[in-house]
């Protein structure tokens, strides 16, 4: 579904964050990316929906090249790509000026995906699924972190995406709220959604991931099934990392 070839990203201050990442995310997979901070995992995820512009390499999404040499920036409609790739942020980024309902329905309506009635019905159905139907007309400032993140997930799902990207979705939450967000993500994984998750939740990686990637210093150092990844780590760097976090 997403193919990444030799992805490099250099920021303006000449810091290399990604040093040639190649990976293939297949339909239905749940990829969990772990690694120390500054290893480039978030940047990797943000390159996939082009919130960051890769400086080198290619990205293919559903058989079409969306970044790299050979793509015409003007012709590749980034919006169409983003409409089909949901993203959940560490700090939720709910629209502060809109109610929960408007947060969820804004994009489906404005992109022409649904009309107003369809969008509202869809939103209510999704809110019910995460148990927050009664919050439909509340503003984000009245919600707890866990509620905000569940609604941010719903907001992305309302676009009927093919893939969901999660950028450290539980890192900004109070410990007692992590569970409710992970439950929604597990539920989503069970429904067959293709997911790429950057996280520090090793339990989630072990339980939900189909593949776990370890990134360090801009490279994918190791990649394996959760059982092998945690049970039989190969590289010294990963062993060291796991000994610290587990």
């Amino acid at each position: 579904m997403i193919i990444v070839k030799n992805l490099c990203k250099k920021f303006e201050n000449d810091i290399f964050v990604l040093k040639g990442i190649s990976y293939h995310i297949k339909t239905g997979e749940k990829i969990v990316v772990v690694g120390p901070s500054g290893s480039g995992k978030s940047t990797f995820l943000r390159c996939l929906n082009l919130l960051e512009r890769p400086t080198e390499g290619e990205i293919w999404f559903e058989g079409r090249q969306i970044s790299g040499p050979g793509t015409d920036r003007k012709k590749t409609d980034i919006r169409l790509v983003r409409m089909r790739m949901g993203m959940v942020f560490q700090n939720f980024h709910l629209f502060n000026n809109l109610t929960v309902m408007d947060n969820i329905t804004l994009a489906p309506i404005k992109t022409g995906l649904m009309n107003k009635t369809e969008a509202s019905e869809n939103a209510l159905r999704l809110l019910e699924r995460v148990g927050l139907k009664e919050k439909a007309n509340v503003y984000p400032s009245r919600l707890s972190g866990g509620q905000k993140q569940r609604i941010a997930i719903v907001r992305s799902l309302a676009m009927n995406p093919r893939v969901m990207l999660f950028d450290e979705p539980t890192s900004a939450l109070d410990p007692e709220m992590v569970g409710e967000v992970l439950d929604v993500m597990k539920d989503l994984a069970e429904s067959g959604m293709t997911m790429a998750v950057v996280t520090h939740e090793m339990g989630f990686a072990r339980e939900v991931g189909t593949k776990v990637l370890f990134m360090d210093d801009g490279n994918i150092v190791e990649e394996n099934t959760p059982a092998e990844f945690f049970g039989n780590p190969q590289s010294a760097r990963l062993k060291e990392f796991l000994s610290k976090v587990l």
Partner: protein, 226 residues
């Protein structure tokens, strides 16, 4: 004391002159304020436009030149240049003043609005983009509504400055509140009373404005706690 007040305000229906002058002042301020807001918004968006590779656009350069020139020269000079040179063939003085002050105010408003937009968390924009909204849609539905709250206090301040700045329109022969006071003084041979009367009218108008702005601001802030 009363005699002076009577001479400056009541004799020969002079109070009508103050209100006539106030009318001119308010008319210029109001329309110049609106024009400044329009120009400022456009300039701010021009300044914030960036190309996909993060480089400046030609719009940014134009906006920067505009702001540099307007902020770098006195508004009295701008007014006189407008009146004696650029629009020398036009005898609608109020229109000339409105244009001149509107163009001037736009440069300052631009920086206020730009700061207000930049103060909205970048994550809001990213979230909008990640959902497939265009830059324009994200601006209109998410960023600008939040920026309005940020810019209201400094915009109100700018409008108050503008209202007082119009006191220089006497330079091009318009009889605003300030010039009227001067004219009355030259007729009664007593400057203090008419000047103080004008000053008090300015003060009251601005006080009312401040109260209204405060109310508006409080109403907008309410959505923070709903």
């Amino acid at each position: 004391m009363w005699d002076k007040f009577e001479a400056a305000f009541i004799t020969a229906d002079r109070w009508k002159l103050y209100f006539g002058g106030l009318g001119v002042t308010l008319q210029i301020s109001f329309f110049a304020g609106i024009l400044g807001l329009l120009i400022g918004t456009v300039l701010a968006l021009m300044k914030l436009s960036v190309r996909w590779n993060g480089k400046k656009t030609v719009f940014t350069v134009i906006a920067n030149i505009y702001i540099d020139i307007i902020r770098g020269t006195p508004s009295v000079l701008q007014l006189m240049i407008m009146y004696f040179a650029i629009m020398a063939n036009n005898n609608n003085k109020v229109l000339i003043a409105v244009l001149s002050f509107g163009i001037n105010s736009g440069a300052y408003v631009a920086e206020i609005i730009r700061a207000g937009i930049l103060a909205v968390d970048k994550g809001q924009t990213e979230a909008g983009h990640s959902l497939g909204l265009t830059r324009g849609q994200t601006m209109v539905h998410v960023v600008i509504p939040q920026a309005v709250k940020n810019v209201l206090p400094p915009i109100g301040n700018e409008f108050i400055v503008l209202l007082k700045e119009t006191a220089i329109v006497g330079y091009v022969g318009l009889s605003d509140l300030t010039r009227i006071a001067n004219q009355i003084a030259s007729r009664t041979y007593e400057a203090f009373t008419p000047l103080i009367i004008s000053a008090m009218i300015y003060f009251i108008i601005i006080k009312i404005l401040t109260i209204l702005l405060g109310k508006l601001e409080r109403r907008l802030r309410q959505s923070d706690n709903r």
